[in-house]
């Protein structure tokens, strides 16, 4: 697999599509629990987040080099996660790793600063809208990475980000930022690995000839983990 760098075009969803997720992200157990006034406020924040953000992304694809002793090696970087390492040991012919970074841009941060002075409810919903929108964008990126892997005869894992499972945030972010030109899309990290603009998401997606499970969850004993994800049920662990 040849290294390459590209971007995924952002396609804006209709504001109404964001509303149910904003309401749940904002604190309602279900979207139906919200009354009309709350729903209108969520709609307003959905429109606002779409009007003020300029989402950008960068994806760098690398050949899979080696995995051992609980780490994955990608070019000059070391990704330290025993669970991801364990997952790749079950993959047939691991061949590629795509490192991605997406951001809503600084406009969102500026609006959050302003809105917090005026209304706590609006700031909660705008923050939720930002989270929902960046997840939407990362979903588009995941689909594109999957398509590109498929064109090379590879299956794709789900995405993984530093801070989840046993992948430490600070060290993980620094490793990923050494593999992508984050500044080209205006994203920076501080010494603790925190990204700005605040609605930015980084991570990796693995590609292999045959993927038994798309996440390490089936191999993990932490049954009450809130981030547990569906893996794949058509194969036996």
């Amino acid at each position: 697999m040849k290294p390459c760098t590209y971007t995924t075009q952002f396609t804006a969803p209709h504001p109404d599509q964001l509303v149910p997720a904003i309401l749940v992200q904002g604190g309602f157990k279900t979207p139906e629990q919200a009354n009309d006034a709350m729903r209108r406020k969520a709609e307003e924040m959905a429109r606002r987040v779409l009007s003020l953000t300029a989402p950008r992304s960068i994806i760098s694809q690398y050949p899979f080099e080696s995995a051992g002793n609980g780490v994955l090696k990608v070019s000059s970087a070391v990704l330290r996660s025993a669970k991801l390492y364990h997952l790749t040991r079950h993959y047939e012919s691991p061949a590629g790793i795509s490192v991605f970074l997406a951001t809503l841009g600084h406009g969102f941060d500026r609006e959050m600063e302003k809105i917090m002075e005026d209304s706590m409810l609006e700031s909660l919903f705008l923050d939720a809208a930002g989270s929902v929108l960046i997840e939407h964008y990362v979903g588009l990126i995941e689909e594109e990475v999957k398509r590109r892997f498929a064109s090379e005869g590879l299956e794709a894992s789900l995405r993984f980000s530093p801070g989840y499972c046993d992948w430490e945030t600070g060290e993980g972010q620094k490793a990923l930022f050494s593999l992508i030109d984050a500044e080209s899309i205006g994203v920076k990290i501080n010494e603790y690995g925190m990204m700005t603009p605040i609605k930015s998401v980084s991570g990796i997606i693995l590609g292999a000839g045959r993927i038994s499970h798309r996440t390490p969850c089936p191999y993990c004993g932490k049954q009450d983990c809130p981030h547990r994800r569906e893996s794949r049920s058509d194969t036996v662990v």
Binding site: L23, G26, G27, F28, K29, Q33, A34, M38, K41, M112, M116, S119, M120, L121, S123, L124, F125, D127, G163, E168, T169, G170, N190, E191, Y192, G193, M194, M195, T196, I198
Partner: protein, 210 residues
Amino acid sequence: MKKSEYITILEKAVLDGNEAEILDILKKKGISPVGEKNVLAALSGGIEKARLKFRNGVISIPEFLLCIDAFKAGASLIKKGVRENRGIPVFIGVVEGDVHDLGKNIVAAVLSSSGYTVTDMGKNVTREKVRSCITGKKKAVVALSSMMSTSLAPMKDIITWIGETEPGIRIIVGGASLDHTIARTLGAHGYAESAVTAPDELKRILATLT
């Protein structure tokens, strides 16, 4: 309208999150019939009722924040001097390294509307920033938050420094990277599991101040 009736209506308007009604009452009837302190107490009374409803699962966080916004609208008509001299000062901030401040802002708003004099230290708060805020204060609370485990080391540093040099300061912590055990290990006096429990925890730790 009787004084008690006026206060009851204000309290209910906060509980309903009805900002327009609060502004209408305070602008039309004025504040002087009951006095600024009583108006503020009524607004805080509404918040306390809303907080209990939220704690008991009757309302959700967005509905609770609607009440907070209603409180803020009413309180903005009260003189700053009255608003900002209500009990022990609380200095709140997000610890160095973290950039997430929505949770901190919500807690600050809840504490402020619950009757505390809250000063927002902002985000990326260092030990120096805390020192500059609490120097000269005999009694105060420092409230520190962190969403990320990466900020626990700087948080520990601030807590240790306060413990060694400022015996009259109480420390309460909160955020996604913490729990009761971690808070205790860091040396904090209290741990706020959520914005809604922060006033209860604050009350508990202040009772240990003589």
